[in-house]
Amino acid sequence: MLELLPEFLLGFGNYFKTNLFIAFCTLIVGLLGGAILGFMHSRNGSILSKLASPVISLLRAFPVFVLMFVLWNFIPRSQNTSINYFISDPDMILILALSAFSVSSLSDIVSDALHFKYMGDSERVWLVIPNIFRTFVTLVLSTSIGAAIGVKEAVTYSLVFSDGLADRSDKLLLILIASILFALFFGISRMILDYMTFRFKAA
C-alpha cells in the first residue's frame, strides 16, 4: 500500500481540481440565481418577494442527491462527445443539482446583505464575502456526491483506486487517507473563514 501512496496522492491532487472547478461553476450559477432571488426576496411584502419565497423554499427542500438523479434521468445527454470536451454530461448535471443548494444559500446571503444596506449598516454588508467563501467550501465538500453518477473527481478516483487493492485493510487505509486529505483541506478552509469573519467583524 505504502509504495502506491505517491501515485495515489498525485492522482488525488489532480482529480481534486475537478471538485474545485465544479464548486466554482456552481458558485457562479448560485451567485447569478441567488442575486436575483435574494433581491426579489428582500422586497418585503411585494409580489416579487411572494414569488421568490416558494422558489427558495423548494430549492432548499430538494435533496441534492435526489435532484442529481432526477436530472440524470430527465436531461437528454449530448450526442457529440466533442461538445463534452470542456465539460462532461455528469459534471454538468452535478453543477445543476448543486445549484439548488447554492442558489438558495446565496439568495439568503444577498438578501441579508441588502437588508443591512437598507439599514445603513454598511460594515456588515462586507460579511457577504466570508459567507460566499463558506458556501464555496460547502460546495467543494458536496461535489463528492458526483461519484454516484461517474463524475471524475477525487472521491471517484479514491473509490476506483481502492477497487484495485486486493486487501480490505489496504482499502480501508486508502479511504481513510482520502477522508483525512479532505478533512485537512476543509479544516484549513474553515480556519481561513473564521479569520476572515473575525477580521470583517472587527473592521
Binding site: 430538494f62 462532461s88 463528492s144 456526491i145 453518477i149 461517474g150 471524475k152 483541506f185
Partner: protein, 546 residues
C-alpha cells in the same frame, strides 16, 4: 414374360425415383413454397382496396422496418450507412417479399409505439420476446436470434455469482426485463437508455460492472476491453437468462405479414443464411446452429401452420411484474389523463405486484433512515459536546480530532469507510446498509451540531443548563437536523433500498422514468418540509422554555 416383368419393374423403379425425387425436392424448400403461395394470394388482391398488411406492403412495393442504429454488430450507423446482422436480415426479408426496404431508426423506448402507430410495418430491433410484450404486439416465430444477459467487469473484481454483486454498482440498459433480478439481489443499478452511453459511463467508472446482452458484450465491450478499462483486463463474470429475440408486427398482421416473415426466417435458418450472416458480422452464434437443425427437421416443416404450441417454437420469457388488484384503476387513471389532458404517463410502480411492494418497502425504509438519522445526529451531537467538556485533556483532544474528521469528510467516503469496516465483521444485508447509513449521516451532522453546542456554551460565563445552550444554538442544530433528513437518500450509494434506490430498481425493468423520478422528488420534498415544520415548532418551544 420375364422381359415384360423386367420392363415393368424398371418403369416402376423410374416412377418411384421420379416421385420420390419430387417429394424430396418439395420438402427441401417447404417454407419457400408456402411463402410463394401466400405472396401469390396477396398479390392477386385489388391494390385499390388491399386486405391485410401484407397485401398493402406488396401493393406499395415498400416495407418500413424499425431498426437499431447504435447497437454494434446488429444495427450500427457508420459514415451515414447502417450495417449489421439485423440490417442485412431486414434487407433480405424485403428482397424475399419483392419490395424495397425503408429502414427507420428506433430505440428500445419507442420501437413498440412506432409499430402500433403504423410508423413502421415491422420491428427488427434487438427485441426480446417476453410475455408482457406478447400481449401488445405479435412476435414472429421462429426467432431470429437469442442472447443471455452477461455481466462484465475488471478481472480484479470478484463477482462470480449473485451474492458477490450485493451493494455493487452495475450499469444496466433501461427497460431490460432481466433488471428485476438485479433489484432482487440488492445490486445498485445505474440505468442508461443507450448502450453507447452505458459503455461511456462504465469507462468513467460510474459503475464497477456492466450488464448487457451477451452479443453486445462480446461484440462491443470485450473487443475494446483494453481501451475501455484503461489497461485493466475485462472478463465476463457470468451470464443468465437466455432470451429469444423476435421480429414484431401488429397483432392484426399476424396471419399475413407475420406468417410470411415467419416462413422467410424459417428458411433463412434452414439454409444457414442467418448463420453465415452472423459470421459476416462477427456476432455470437451459439443459438443459430441449433435453430438450423430444428428447421431442417421435417417434423417442424408445418410448425408455423399448426399452432403456437409446437415444440419447434421457443416460448417467450415471463419475468414481467404481475398486476395487482389496483391495476384496473391505475390503467383507467392513465387513460383518463391521456384523454382529458393529453398526458401520456404510466404508473407501473402502483399497478405491478413487485413494483408496489418495492415502493412501499422503499417508503418505509426512507422514513426509517430519516428518523434514525435525526436521532443519530442528536445523539452524536450530545456525545461530541459531552466529551468536549471532559476534564481529561486526552479525551478532549480525541473528541476534537474525531469531530473535525467527521465535520470535514465527504459523506460518500464516510459511507464507504463504514461499509468496509462493518462488512469485515457482518455479512452485507439491507439492515447492515441502513445501519451504516444512519451512523455515518448521524456522525457527520452530529459533528456540526456538536460544534454549534460547544460554541454556544462558550457564550455563557457560568455553568449553563443544556436547554439554554440548545436555545442559543437552535439555528445550527435545526440546520443539522434538516441536513440529516436531506442526506438520507445518499444511503442508496451503499445499496440501502430506500425510496430512490427502490424506484430506480422499478424504473430499470419497467422503463418508465418520468413518473418514477417525479414521485421520488415529491416524496423527499414533503419529508424535508415536514422536518422543517416540526423542527421549527420545537425550536420555538425550546426558545420559550429557555
Amino acid at each position: 414374360m420375364i422381359f415384360l416383368k423386367n420392363v415393368l419393374e424398371f418403369l416402376l423403379y423410374i416412377i418411384i425415383l421420379i416421385t420420390g425425387g419430387v417429394v424430396f425436392a418439395k420438402s427441401d424448400a417447404p417454407y419457400e413454397q408456402k411463402l410463394g403461395t401466400l405472396l401469390e394470394k396477396s398479390r392477386s388482391q385489388n391494390c385499390a382496396n388491399p386486405d391485410g398488411q401484407l397485401a398493402f406492403i406488396l401493393c406499395a412495393k415498400k416495407i418500413k422496418i424499425g431498426v437499431r442504429t447504435n447497437y454494434p454488430g446488429f444495427g450500427e450507423s457508420r459514415d451515414g450507412k447502417i450495417d449489421g446482422y439485423e440490417i442485412k436480415a431486414a434487407q433480405e426479408i424485403a428482397n424475399r417479399l419483392g419490395v424495397m426496404a425503408e429502414l427507420v431508426p428506433v430505440t428500445p423506448a419507442n420501437r413498440i409505439e412506432k409499430l402500433l402507430k403504423g410508423e413502421v410495418d415491422m420491428v427488427l430491433a434487438t427485441m426480446a420476446h417476453t410475455t408482457s410484450r406478447d400481449q401488445i404486439i405479435h412476435f414472429v416465430r421462429p426467432h431470429y436470434y437469442s442472447s443471455p444477459t452477461s455481466i462484465v467487469g475488471p478481472k480484479k473484481i470478484n463477482a462470480n455469482e449473485w451474492s458477490d454483486l450485493a451493494g455493487r454498482s452495475v450499469c444496466v440498459p433501461l427497460g431490460n426485463f432481466s433488471n428485476i433480478l438485479f433489484s432482487e439481489h440488492q445490486v445498485r443499478m445505474m440505468i442508461y437508455d443507450r448502450p453507447d452511453r452505458m459503455v461511456e459511463a462504465f469507462n468513467m467508472r460510474a459503475c464497477s460492472l456492466i450488464a448487457h446482452d451477451q452479443s453486445y458484450i462480446y461484440g462491443s465491450i470485450l473487443k475494446n476491453a483494453r481501451e475501455l478499462s484503461g489497461g485493466n483486463t475485462l472478463e465476463e463474470k457470468f451470464s443468465f437468462n437466455e432470451v429469444p429475440w423476435g421480429i414484431g408486427v401488429k397483432k392484426s398482421a399476424s396471419k399475413n405479414l407475420g406468417l410470411a416473415i415467419g416462413l422467410i426466417i424459417a428458411d433463412m435458418h434452414q439454409s444457414g443464411y442467418l448463420l453465415n450472416l452472423a459470421d459476416q458480422t462477427n456476432i455470437q452464434k451459439s443459438f443459430l446452429p441449433q435453430q438450423k437443425n430444428t428447421w431442417k427437421n421435417p417434423n417442424c416443416f408445418d410448425a408455423l401452420d399448426i399452432s403456437d404450441t409446437s415444440d419447434c417454437l421457443l416460448k417467450p420469457v415471463n419475468l414481467a411484474d404481475q398486476p395487482n388488484s389496483f391495476e384496473g384503476s391505475i390503467t383507467f387513471f392513465e387513460g383518463w389523463l391521456g384523454k382529458n389532458f393529453n398526458i401520456q404517463v404510466k404508473f407501473p410502480m402502483f399497478s405491478g405486484s413487485n413494483g408496489l411492494k418495492m415502493l412501499i418497502n422503499g417508503m418505509a425504509i426512507s422514513m426509517l433512515i430519516v428518523l434514525c438519522s435525526i436521532g443519530a445526529t442528536l445523539l452524536a451531537s450530545y456525545s461530541f459536546y459531552f466529551f468536549s467538556q471532559s476534564k481529561i485533556k486526552f479525551v478532549k483532544i480525541m473528541c476534537s480530532g474525531v469531530r473535525l474528521f467527521f465535520q470535514n469528510s465527504p459523506l460518500i467516503l464516510l459511507l464507504m469507510l463504514g461499509y468496509l469496516l462493518v462488512t469485515a465483521i457482518l455479512d452485507y444485508s439491507t439492515g447492515v446498509a441502513v445501519f451504516i447509513a444512519v451512523v455515518m449521516i448521524g456522525l457527520l451532522n452530529g459533528a456540526n451540531c456538536g460544534s454549534a453546542l460547544m460554541d454556544a456554551s462558550k457564550t455563557f460565563h457560568f455553568e449553563a443548563k443544556l436547554l439554554d445552550i440548545v436555545a442559543v444554538a437552535s439555528v445550527p442544530i435545526r440546520a443539522a437536523v434538516i441536513n440529516a433528513a436531506k442526506s438520507s437518500p445518499t444511503a442508496a450509494f451503499i445499496g440501502a433500498p430506500e425510496m430512490l434506490a427502490s424506484l430506480t430498481d422499478i424504473t430499470s425493468f419497467t422503463g418508465e422514468r418520468i413518473t418514477t423520478y417525479l414521485i421520488v422528488a415529491i416524496f423527499y420534498i414533503i419529508i424535508v418540509q415536514m422536518v422543517v415544520v416540526i423542527t421549527g415548532f420545537y425550536a420555538k418551544r425550546v426558545l420559550q422554555h429557555a
